[in-house]
Structure formats: structure tokens, C-alpha cells
């Protein structure tokens, strides 16, 4: 970088215009791609107003989304909170798409716009493009087109089958959204663009091939395997199946084709957001670290004024503030604070390690290439594996982390581990578990269908550590499941070790959803 020409500040006042943003973007881009070696999708920066930000909030940040009352509820809640001054708005929203779209608010000052560009357009963008989970599970090229398709498809269903029918179906599908992701890759590549084509082709094919005579051809029954044996039944139905919406889409006996398509849409969208929930700490840590480095670099080279730097630091320290557990403000571990601290810690270990660090992290300690380590980390880990690997004893001491177990059978809770030699490993593991999806989400699977009898669907919850499902919600979700399945449903909560049944829930279908087939 040529220091002689960059000494002029990018802006000196709080207000900004489009040329200011362009100048700031160019300066930030030089640092991000040059000094930090980031690799990003092309950026698209969109300036929006407060009200549009509230709009975006209520459609999970996406620019296009189908219509449903729950988004209206979200909007009403956010608007109420915002107007009452109980909640500020995010400075930005960034969408994992190619090109990467960042929304920035018009109310932001010039400093905040620079911060937001560094944070979202480079930090998050780099993470989206390079992290293995996003590469594996999401299709940044196709998501916007797919959402457009989803919105139009659902709108056309509302026209053809009525708002009420679609709303009921979406209610049911949303209730099962948490059980609608494939946790392990299947054969199907994630390509949402061809999803639309396939949806159309499936319908066309069904219409072309329909011939009532096929029903009367003899001999059909003989080739079919006997579904009464459990083994063949499980093979035909692909059981056990933890993706309940997938199972319903493929096998629910009385759903109409459009209803299956909508279940598919909800499932695809759930899958798209699945990596985001597993990389909160890393994603925010990466973006916060990137904006911190960039803003400091801008300040060092005189491109932002001291005043702007103070404004940035104030906002930055607010974001990475971690209240302690006995603080009334405490509401869990702040992913920004933990992520940023860990990224900085890796930088420190790479450049100025202590003896302890050399013992704990022999692979990276003192190798001098902080950005190289970080880029490798951002590409190949998710929160759980990242914490397990890189949470250093020094950070455990700094945060004063301690683990508590609460056994319902014991009279009191017990401190299991603190920040001492014996506790480091246990704390690493315990914190990693808090970010492990397979540990947080209940383990629920469709295990069997009574095909020969009353077609009852049997779902199983393996209750880890004896923690049962929230009974009230479980009953409601099970009701939705029964409506979709259109026969009785039985949910067994079993103890994973002894396989003994701890609790059973049952539900019978209400008329409504399945009737659409005959309507």
C-alpha cells in the first residue's frame, strides 16, 4: 500500500453519501483482500430504511419470502419492541447468496457504514464462501431464485386451494421444521435451481403418465414384497428416518401433490438455514475479528479520524461485551464475545505463544502466520469442533468459565469443573456440547408404521440424560403430525440406554388437511 496517497481521511463527518460508501468500500477491500487475504463473493450493498429493516427482520432476513401469519407476528413483535425503545435494530443484515447482499441502514453514520461493510461484506461474506458447512449444505447461487419460486408457488396454491388450507399446512410444516433437516449428506447435491425444474417435471410426468387402466393390470400385487415383515417395511419406507418432513413428503398416504411440494419447500428452507445455527460463534467471531483488524488498519494509515475510531471502539466494545452469570444482564454466552476472543487468541498463539500454548496447540503455536491459521479454521470447523479444538486455558481463565451439573434426583446442583488444570478439558468438552446440534436438538426419528393394521405412525424420542420433551408443545406438534399423516400417531420417549419407555404421547388426525385430496 502506498502510504503517501492514503493519508487523507475517507470521511470526516458523520453524514455520508454514495461516494463516501464507495471510497470506504475501496479502502476496506484493499485491506481485506490484500492484508487479510480474504476470498469473497462479489458484493452488493443495499441501503434501506428502518421500516424496511423491520420488514427484512420478519422474513428471516431474506428479501423474498412466502406469506404466513407467523412472519406478521414477528413483525408486530419487532415493531412494538422497537417503538417502545426496548430493542435497537441491527446495523446490517447479510445474506448468504452470490452475489452477497448486505443491507445497511440509512440512519447509520459514516463510521458505522464502514464498520458494517468490513463486518458483513467481508467478514461474513468470506465465511459464507469458504466454510465447509455452507459449501456442503447451501446453494448461494440459487437461493434467491428458489425463494422466488417458493413464494410464487405458495401464492398460486393459496389462489387455487384457499388461504385457510395453505395456512393449516404451513402451520403443520413449520411445527416440524426443526425435524426437517438432513444431518448427514445424502446422494442429492444441493442445487436449488434445478429443484424448481424438477418440481415442474414431476408434475408434468405424473399428469402424462396417469392412466386409470394401470390400476386394473393384474399381477401387480405379486411383485411387491410383503410389507408385513418389519425388515422390508423399513427398507421400503427408508426407516428409521429423522427428517420427518421428508418422510411425510414421500410417504404420507393422503396428501395432495401440491401439499407435498409445500412440505418440500419448507424442508429446503430449513436445510438452507441449518449451517447458520451451527456456526454462530465462528461466523460472528470471524466477522468481528475482520472488522476489528480492518478498522484498526484504516486508523493506522490515517484513513479514519481519531473521532471515528472512538465511535467505532464504543460500538465494538458494546458488541463483544460478556456479562457474568450473576449479572442481571446475563442471557447466555455472547457469540460475538466468545468468537472474537477466540479469534484474537489464535492470533496471539500463532504470533506470541506462551509455554502453555505450545503444550496445548503444538501445531500452530508460534508459526507466525495468524491469518493463515484463521483462514484454515474458518474453512474447516463448526462451533462445536472449533471450541473443542481451540478454546485455550488462557481464555477459560479470562472468562472464568465453570461447569455445573443439575441432576433432578439430587437436592442441589454441583460445580463440576472450574478454570484449573483438572477442569480445562472438561470445560472445553462441556462448552462444545452446548454448541453441538446433535446434543441440543432432541433425537427424534420415525421408526415404524403399522402398515398391516391401522397405519399408525410410530415416532421415537431418545431422551438423552432423561430430559423429556416439553409436554405442551409436543402435544401440539404431534397433533400437526397426525393431521399430515392423517392416521394416528404415537410418540414414544425412550431411555437410550435401557430402551425402556419413559412417556408416550398420542394424537389422532383432525379432519381438514387430508380432505383436500377429495375436494
Amino acid at each position: 500500500m502506498n502510504d503517501s496517497i492514503v493519508r487523507i481521511p475517507l470521511f470526516e463527518r458523520a453524514d455520508w453519501e454514495f461516494s463516501t460508501i464507495q471510497r470506504a468500500y475501496d479502502a476496506i477491500e484493499t485491506i481485506a483482500l490484500g492484508d487479510l487475504g480474504l476470498s469473497v463473493y462479489p458484493n452488493q450493498i443495499e441501503v434501506i430504511s428502518t421500516e424496511q429493516m423491520l420488514d427484512a427482520y420478519s422474513s428471516v432476513g431474506m428479501p423474498v419470502f412466502y406469506k404466513h401469519w407467523s412472519f406478521g407476528k414477528q413483525f408486530a413483535r419487532n415493531q412494538g419492541m422497537y417503538q417502545a425503545g426496548m430493542q435497537g435494530l441491527a446495523y446490517e443484515i447479510v445474506i448468504n447468496s452470490n452475489p452477497c447482499i448486505s443491507y445497511i441502514m440509512e440512519e447509520n453514520t459514516a463510521t458505522m457504514q464502514a464498520l458494517v461493510i468490513a463486518h458483513a461484506a467481508f467478514g461474513h461474506n468470506h465465511f459464507f464462501k469458504n466454510n465447509y458447512l455452507f459449501q456442503q449444505w447451501t446453494d448461494a447461487d440459487g437461493i434467491l431464485d428458489y425463494l422466488e419460486f417458493a413464494r410464487n408457488y405458495i401464492a398460486s396454491c393459496e389462489e387455487r386451494y384457499g388461504d385457510a388450507a395453505v395456512e393449516r399446512l404451513l402451520d403443520a410444516a413449520h411445527a416440524l421444521m426443526g425435524q426437517a433437516v438432513d444431518r448427514y449428506p445424502r446422494r442429492r447435491p444441493a442445487d436449488l435451481r434445478s429443484e424448481q425444474l424438477r418440481a415442474r417435471e414431476r408434475r408434468d410426468h405424473d399428469e402424462r403418465m396417469f392412466n386409470d387402466l394401470w390400476r386394473t393390470v393384474p399381477g401387480q400385487g405379486q411383485v411387491r414384497a410383503d410389507p408385513s415383515t418389519e425388515e422390508t417395511r423399513r427398507a421400503i419406507l427408508q426407516l428409521p428416518q429423522e427428517n420427518i418432513l421428508y418422510f411425510l413428503e414421500k410417504t404420507a398416504p393422503r396428501l395432495a401433490p401440491w401439499q407435498r411440494e409445500i412440505l418440500r419447500i419448507v424442508r429446503q428452507i430449513a436445510q438452507y438455514f441449518y449451517p447458520q445455527s451451527q456456526t454462530k460463534v465462528m461466523n460472528e467471531g470471524c466477522a468481528t475479528y475482520v472488522h476489528y483488524r480492518i478498522m484498526n488498519r484504516l486508523h493506522e494509515t490515517g484513513r479514519i479520524t481519531d473521532g471515528a475510531m472512538v465511535e467505532f471502539l464504543r460500538s465494538h466494545t458494546n458488541v463483544v461485551f460478556q456479562p457474568e452469570f450473576d449479572d442481571p444482564r446475563y442471557s447466555g454466552i455472547n457469540p460475538y464475545a466468545l468468537g472474537f476472543a477466540m479469534m484474537q487468541d489464535i492470533e496471539r498463539i500463532a504470533t506470541a505463544p506462551t509455554e502453555e500454548d505450545r503444550a496445548w496447540f503444538p501445531a500452530i503455536a508460534g508459526n507466525g502466520d495468524a491469518m493463515g491459521c484463521l483462514r484454515e479454521v474458518w474453512a474447516n470447523y463448526r462451533d462445536e469442533s472449533f471450541i473443542l479444538q481451540y478454546l485455550s486455558p488462557r481464555l477459560i481463565r479470562q472468562f472464568g468459565l465453570f461447569a455445573i451439573t443439575d441432576d433432578a434426583a439430587a437436592p442441589e446442583m454441583r460445580v463440576e469443573a472450574i478454570h484449573d488444570e483438572r477442569g480445562y478439558k472438561r470445560i472445553q468438552r462441556a462448552l462444545a456440547r452446548q454448541y453441538d446440534v446433535s446434543h441440543i436438538a432432541p433425537d427424534i426419528q420415525v421408526v415404524d408404521v403399522d402398515l398391516a393394521g391401522d397405519r399408525r405412525l410410530i415416532v421415537q424420542h431418545r431422551a438423552r440424560n432423561g430430559v423429556l420433551l416439553d409436554a405442551r408443545d409436543a402435544a401440539q406438534v404431534l397433533q400437526h403430525l397426525a393431521d399430515l399423516w392423517s392416521y394416528d400417531v404415537l410418540l414414544k420417549e425412550i431411555d437410550p440406554s435401557g430402551e425402556s419407555v419413559l412417556k408416550e404421547h398420542r394424537a389422532s388426525p383432525r379432519p381438514g388437511i387430508a380432505q383436500a385430496l377429495f375436494g
Binding site: 464507495q22 477491500e29 411445527a175 446442583m413
Partner: protein, 435 residues
Amino acid sequence: MHIVDRRLNPSGKSLANRQRFMRRAKAMVRKAVHETAGQRSITEGDEGGEVALPAQGVHEPSLHRAGSGGMREYLLPGNKRYVEGDTLPRPPGGEGGAGSEGSPDGEGEDDFRFALSRDEFVELFLEDLDLPDLAKRRLMEAEAPVWQRAGYAVSGSPSNLALTRTVRNSLSRRIALRRPKLDEIARLAEEADAAEAAGATQEAAELREKLARLRLRASLIPFIDPLDVRYKRFDPHPRPVAQAVMFCLMDVSGSMTEHMKDLAKRFYVLLYIFLKRRYKNVEVVFIRHTHVAQEVDEETFFNSPETGGTVVSTALEEMIRVIGERYPADSWNIYAAQASDGDNTASDNDRTAGLLTQTLLPACQYYAYLEVGRDADHFPPGFIRRESDLWQTYAALIAAGAPIAMRKVSHRRDIYPVFRDLFARKDAGQEAALS
């Protein structure tokens, strides 16, 4: 890098979602609106505002693990004094050591609070209410005509000439009658000249003759004939008068307590919100009376005490005077609501009845009488204990077929039901009169 300015994009993208939400939560929102309305002061009666719904009502269920029971593990920051093996009691209320940690999905079980716009508020507030049939019938009579285009006419004022239509008619007539075109005549004249110049006299003579025939034909068939002419036609259309005046009549004599005035005020506010929804322009006239009546402003109407006897007919006379001066019945929809504790000087009852039936009721769209009672002697609406003078007078009028709506109210909570009762959508033919 592109910068896109989205600020000018149409906002309100969530409107469809919001409407779906409102439809979903309608019953709950309606209940919340009425509860909220009861707590408000009168002046902000028709503002929008925040309402609270029970959280469970619009809950979105999901399968998640319960908040208690079994074996749990917490990891917390900020250890100062604990060492491994310490035991500590469970914090009261919440399970686990996670102080103020919310429920697992991050959503509390508090009431769901959100803001309604003024329109949404009033919409829910006045849902299922309608002007009584009586008023609708009258509404159709009180019209001002408005002129609307209605096709074409063969006669009319020159300023209304429909040029395009006229020329079109003329064109088709000219084509049908084979009127020679101007360039046709010009071409023939040129050919004749050319033939003459070439010396072909025979041919030139034929052409000249043909030309003369064409010219004669063109002069006989006019370019525009009176037959072609069309005028724009306008028809008068009746348009309902979109302005209303609301008369608030109240007895302010000593027997009216603050409580009674408060009840009356609430009723007036409801009526005002209601009329405001139907008419673009609503004016309010306050007339208070003791043994004399006077038109006053709102502040004085509700707040300044008066002493004296009670002569209802004075208020009616004052109202007739105001109508005569400022609100002619053919251009204003007149609504009147009278509030009183029911006292009237005995000798005045006949005069009151006369004024009402002969002058006021024919001019009014709607006349409501609200008899307010003391809070202490509360009774369910509709239950009549002792008929007051005024009540008896009006009851007799209603029995004779006069369109007066009357109710008794003695507690704040009755106001809204009574109002709903008065204006609830009714089947045709059913009179909105007696309780």
C-alpha cells in the same frame, strides 16, 4: 461492488403477513382491544396503540426438550468463588444456575405485545356494527346529484360536442355515400390538364365531364352533416351526502353527577368514532340545558357545573335553531344523542314529545336517548326499575312508532354493550328502537 438504494422501494412488504396475523388472532385481538379501550381516557379513544395478547394464543409449537427434569449441564462465565465439588442450591423460579436465562428457544412466555394502527383499532372496535336500517333509508333521500358521463346524445350544448364521435360518423357516412375525396378530384383535374396539354381533346373532354360530376357530388354530400353531430351526454346521479353533524344534548342540572356525565361522555365518544368512520366530515355540536339551553364548546359542556331546573324542550328548541342556521337537513346527515338522568318538568313532557315528533325526528337520521343512572344502583341493561318522566314520554312515542333508540346505563362497562346493541347489524325490518 454495487450500491443499490432501496429506500424508495415500496415499504409495507410485511403488510400481507400482518393481515394474516390479524386474521389469525382476531378473536384475541378484539378482546384485548375492548379491555384496552376501557382503560383509556376519552380523548384518545380512537387512537391506535399497544395491545397485549396471551402468549399461548399465537404460539408456534416445536419439538424441544423440557426446561426441567433429568440430568442437565450448564456452562457459565464469571466464576469468582466456586471450586470443583461445591454444591449450590437451585435458584428459585428458574431451573439450573442460569440466572436470567430465558426458555430454551429464546422466547419468553410473557404476553405478546404489539401495536395496532388507528384504523385497525377502530376496525376491530366497531366490527359488526352498522347504521340502522332506518338511517340507511333516510340516507338515500338526503342526496346531492352529481353529473356523470353517460354515452352520447344527438342534441346538446356546443361545449359538449363530442368531436371524435362526430367525425367518425361523418367519415362512415361519406364512405357509404361515396363522396369523392379531395385528392381524387385533384388527380382527375391534373389528368385532364395533362390530356389537354397532350392534345387529346376527346379524352380531356371526358375527363372534364367526369370531374364536373365529381365536384357536383362533393358539393351535394356535405363533409359534416347535422346527422353526424353527437354531444356528450351527462346524467344526474344521486350521491349520498358525505358529511354529518352530531348533536350532543345533555342535562347539566344539579341532579347530574360527575359519574353520569362520564357515562354520557363515553357514549358520545363511541358515537363520534363510529360516525367518523362513515363520514368524511363530522361536526359536533354540544348543547347543554337546565331550564334554559345553550350551545357550548366541549370543555364547558363536560366541565362547568350549572344549576337550575330541567326543561328538556329548551334543548330541542336550541337544536332546531342550530339546524335551521347551519345544518340544513338536505345537505347534512344529522345524528343526535341525548343524555339525561330522566328528570323533566312534568308540564314540559308534552311539548318535548311534540317538538320531537313534528320537527326533530323527520330531520334526524338517528336519535338516541341514553338514560344514565348512579353507579350505586347498577342493574343489568334492559332491566327497568322505575320509569323516569322522560323515559315514559319517549316510550309512549316509540309505542306510537317514532324512531327513537333508548337505553339505560349505569356503569361504565355497560356503555360498550349498549352501544353495540344499538348499532348491531340487524335484519331488515327489525326496528332499532326499544329495549
